[in-house]
Amino acid sequence: MTIQHEFPSKMERPDQQFTLVDATAVGEVQRRLPLAERLINQDFTRRAGIIVVLLLIWELYARWVDNPLLFPTFSDTLQVFIRDLADGTLLERTRTSLRPLLLGYIGGLGLAAILTSLAVSSRIGADILTTLTSMFNPLPAIAVLPLALIWFGLGTPSMVFVIIHSVLWAVSLSTLTGFRSVPETLRLSGRNFGLRGLRYIGQILIPAAFPAILAGLKIGWAFAWRTLVAAEMVFGVSSRSGGLGWYIFEARSELDTARVFAGLLTVIIIGLFVEAVIFRVVEARTVQKWGMQR
């Protein structure tokens, strides 16, 4: 179909040229935003604001319920938290928890690195990893715990085993997904430079898949914590120095609800610190700087 110009003579209009309008009235072309607006634009201020609001709701609701056994107030919890922090109990418990946690996390990451490297190097490796992942990823760590107790007995090795189980599959899955979504052109470029094997994985695939890998590291970290606290509740009873899970469990059996909350608060604070400080810094220096993630 052709477009018909019905009134060609009417469509013609004379050329126009303008002298520029005086723009000095605008003031500075680039002006700093007011302080309040700049603060609101900071992730940190907004999130801190959300936390303050949540704490306020907690405090008000607990006062309204007025039942310290079921729902202690934030101020009571904070008192217990500070007392236990000051006498070293909480620090000791945290330290006990962190050891198997870090061992399991790092072990899980190492194994995930090996498995995903094999998976990208050969088709059979990829088949093995995807099959294993779909088999074991849905299996809760707590379900593996009895087996760990039979194999390794009570103590750190069992704990590390179940943490590795919960970290490994989640991290492998997201890393492999990341590797698979690396653009073809980038892969070809890397091979064009003569990179092969581990150098290819380390210098092309890992940085290119870093957003997905970072997401995997975060999920893995959260899974490790969950598994740890749960496992400690099951067999912290018989070990002499229990971790945070045992601290919570002990407080519950003494009906010291404020202390249960203090234990949960500790887990949350550590989680917030790792997420908001460590992972945040890593993100800002990598994927955000590279424009791979906003």
Partner: protein, 264 residues
Amino acid sequence: MLSNPVVEVSNVTLQYKTPDHLVTATYRISCNVHKGDRYVILGPSGCGKSTLLKAVGGFIRPVTGTISVAGREVSEPGPDRMMVFQEFEQLMPWKSVLQNVTFPMLAAGKFSRADAREKALSAIEKVNLTKFKDVYPHMLSGGMKMRVAIARALAMEPDVLLMDEPFAALDALTRRKMQEELLSLWEQHRFTMLFVTHSIDEAIVVGSRILILSPHPGRVRAELDATKLGFADIGTRKFGELSHRIHGLLFEDVNSSTTLAASN
């Protein structure tokens, strides 16, 4: 009179597999690229021109025939044949412009660190990106990214520069500017390049030799000389004649190949 060719393609048949089919991309192609040639492979979509370039790059092995570059038979990808792709993702987003240019030089171990930096800076200067040397690729425009890719390839001083429709993703004005810049770089360095395109005009302007392939599977139709024609000749009678002749060779017996872009 002519020295040994830099790239020798003899009797090359290329096939690749999709999950359901075995596709023959090119059939018994032979051609020689000499030192300093701006050798253009021109053909409609589906004539296997990109596949042929990838084979020279070492990404695909020929089913029959051989490809050799600078006397060595091609068996795997390598930095002696630097490739410039059409897509902008060829730059490493986690490296700055300067790091992107030095990356292959250091990865291949061909240059020392100081040497690589110096050569990279000079290559970046040649493509007018000195001001942007510490910027990350996501902050560059499409044309600038392409310049970085060309600087990166040239800084390696490869035996042959392989370009796979490098300007196809750019807008018309930027494309024209990049073609001019590429030609002026060639004037300065006289590197050998193998350039794939589906635009007749681009082939005549950029190329000194034009290899014309037929579609499905790609076979050699003609090899023409375009040494004397450049930007200044667009719109002249000679340019028009060559363009018309190429058009005829491409469409002679294949009326359905309307996908070919006759102009850029």
